[in-house]
C-alpha cells in the first residue's frame, strides 16, 4: 500500500545540512494501522509528509497504491492525493468557514455537484458524531470536536489511506482515547490503511498493529506492536516501551540487591501470551525447596495478548535455585537475573 524505498530527505541550511530521513525503507500493508514513533526531531514529521509529497524526498522512492509518486505530474499527483486523507496535530481547519464548508472543502475543490456534497457531508458529520454542528465555526468547538471535523474532512473523498500527524498530541487523555477509537472504527468499517506518527507510546499500544521506531532519521526498529513491546531491540525502543509498560525496577529493589547473595537472588520473569496464564510460581513452590517472594509485577494487554513482567526473589540453596531457573526456561518463559541491571 505504502512503500518507502531508500528514502532520504536532506534540509539544506546556509550553515549545515540536516538529514531528516536517512535511507528509510518501510512497507505498510493495506488495512494496517501502522505507527511511527520517535522523539521530536527524529524525522517522523518528514516521513509522513513524504507519503503525500508535502515534502519531496531528496532521493529514494515513495510508492503509494503501486504508483511512484515522484514520477507523477502535478495534475496526476493532485489526483493521487484525493486517495490520501490527512489529519493534523493542530487540526488546520479554516476558521473563517463553517464546519459544513470545512468538511465539504475537498469536494468543492474537486467541483462535485452541490447535492452530492450536501449528502456526503451530512453522512460524514453523522459518522464522526457532529451532525448538529454543521453550522458552527471551528472557534466554537472543543479540541476533540475540531479533530472530528478534521477527520470528516480527510474522509470526504473516500480515501484508502489516512495519515495522522500527531493527531492526538494536542488533546487531553480522555479525548485522545475517543479519537483513537474513532480511528479504529474507520480502519475497521472502511478498511482504510492508517499511518500514525506520534511521540506517545500509549497511542501505538492502543490502536496500532505495527510500529516503526525512528531515531535520527533512521528506522531503527520495526515490527508488530507485540514484538517491539515485548522485546525491544534498541535503546530508543526500550525507552519508549518504558513510558507505557512500567517495567522499571523500583529503587527499593535496587536496595535489596545489595543484600543479594548465593541463597537470596532476584530475577525478572517475562511472560508472554499463553505462558502468562500458567501457574508457574505455584508449580515452583510445590516442586522445589525454595521460597518465593514477589517484589514487583505488571501485566498489560498488547493487541489482545497478555504480557506480564514479574520481579521475584528466590530464597534457597544455590543448587535448587539453578534447578528452578532451568524449570522456568523449559516453560519457554524468559527469565533473567536482575543482578546485571545494577550497574
Amino acid at each position: 500500500m505504502i512503500t518507502f524505498e531508500n528514502v532520504t530527505k536532506v534540509y539544506q541550511s546556509p550553515t549545515a545540512e540536516v538529514k531528516a530521513l536517512d535511507q528509510v525503507d518501510l512497507h505498510i500493508e493495506k488495512g494496517e494501522i501502522y505507527g511511527v514513533i520517535g522523539f521530536s526531531g527524529a524525522g517522523k514529521s518528514s516521513l509522513i509528509r513524504c507519503v503525500n509529497l508535502l515534502e519531496r524526498p531528496t532521493s529514494g522512492k515513495v510508492i503509494v497504491n503501486s504508483q511512484d509518486l515522484l514520477a507523477l505530474s502535478p495534475k496526476e499527483l493532485r489526483k493521487a492525493k484525493s486517495d490520501i486523507g490527512m489529519i493534523f496535530q493542530h487540526f488546520n481547519l479554516l476558521n473563517s468557514k463553517t464546519v459544513f464548508t470545512n468538511v465539504a472543502m475537498p469536494l468543492l475543490l474537486a467541483k462535485k455537484p452541490k447535492d452530492e456534497i450536501k449528502q456526503r457531508v451530512q453522512e460524514l458529520l453523522d459518522f464522526v458524531g457532529l451532525a448538529d454542528k454543521a453550522d458552527s465555526y471551528p472557534d466554537q468547538l472543543s479540541g476533540g470536536q475540531k479533530q472530528r471535523v478534521g477527520i470528516a474532512r480527510a474522509l470526504a473523498t473516500q480515501p484508502s489511506i489516512l495519515l495522522c500527524d500527531e493527531a492526538t498530541s494536542a488533546l487531553d487523555p480522555e479525548t485522545t482515547n475517543a479519537i483513537l477509537q474513532l480511528l479504529k472504527k474507520i480502519n475497521e468499517q472502511y478498511d482504510i490503511t492508517i499511518l500514525i506518527i506520534t511521540h506517545e507510546m500509549s497511542v501505538i499500544r492502543e490502536i496500532c498493529d505495527k510500529v516503526a521506531v525512528i531515531d535520527h532519521g533512521k528506522v531503527v526498529e520495526a515490527g508488530t506492536v507485540f514484538d517491539v513491546f515485548s522485546q525491544p531491540q534498541t535503546k530508543v525502543a526500550r525507552n519508549f516501551v518504558k513510558t507505557v509498560m512500567h517495567d522499571d525496577i523500583p529503587d527499593s529493589i535496587y536496595q535489596l540487591l545489595e543484600t543479594q547473595d548465593e541463597a537470596n537472588r532476584i530475577y525478572r520473569i517475562v511472560f508472554v501470551g499463553e505462558s502468562a496464564g500458567a501457574p508457574l510460581l505455584s508449580q515452583i513452590a510445590k516442586h522445589y525447596p525454595v521460597e518465593i517472594n514477589v517484589l514487583f509485577g505488571s501485566i498489560t494487554e498488547l493487541q489482545g495478548t497478555p504480557f506480564g513482567n514479574l520481579i521475584v526473589q528466590f530464597k534457597g540453596e544455590d543448587k535448587e535455585i539453578q534447578r528452578v531457573i532451568m524449570h522456568i526456561n523449559q516453560q519457554k518463559v524468559a527469565v533473567k537475573e536482575v543482578f546485571e541491571h545494577v550497574s
Partner: protein, 216 residues
Amino acid sequence: MLVEWPQIVEALWETLIMVSFSLLFSVVIGLPLGILLVITRKGHLLENTFVFNVLNGIVNIFRSVPFIILMVAVIPFTRLVVGTSIGTAAAIVPMVLYAGPYIARLIENSLLEVDPGVMEAAQAMGATPRQIITKFLIPEALSSLLLGLTIATIGLVGASAMAGAVGGGGLGDLAITFGYQRFDTIVLLITVGILILMVQGLQSAGNILSKKIRRR
C-alpha cells in the same frame, strides 16, 4: 467666510472621487502584488527568489519616496496617462503609485498571518495553487485584509489633501488656498472637521466589517 457651502460640498465630492478611484486602482495593483510577495517567498507556494526580490525592491522604492516628492517626480508619467498634470484626475495617478505598493505591503502582512498549517491542509487535499489562494489564503486573511484596506483608505484621504495643494482640488485645496493663504480660519476648521469625520467613519466601518467577517 470667503467660500460658499456649495464650494465645500464640491471639494468634498472631489476628495471622495480622488480617494475612491485611487483606492480602486491601488487595490487592483496592490492585491496581486501582495499575493505575489507572499507566494514567491522562500518556502512558499510558488517560491521564486528572483521575482520576490524584484517586486520587493520595487515596492520599497515607491514606499521610500515621500508622497509630496513622488507627486512632482511622476508629473511626466501623469501627463502621459491622463494628458494633464493638474486637476482631480491627475491627482489620482500619483495617489495610486503611492497607495498601490502600500496596499501590497498591508496585504502581504495579512496573508503572512494565515496559519501555515491551513496551507498544508490545502496542499494535502490536492488544491491547485489558484484554489489555495482563492479558497484558503484570502478567505482566512479577509478580516485582517479589510483592516489593512481601512488603513490604506485613511492614508489616501491624507494624500488627497496633499494632492489638493498642487492643484488636485478637493478639501485639501480648499484648506490651503482659503484657509491658509487667505487666513480664513473658519474654512480651515470646517475642512479639518470634515476630514476628521471622514476618517472616523471609515475606521468604524472597517472595524465593523472586519469583525463581522471574523465571526468570533
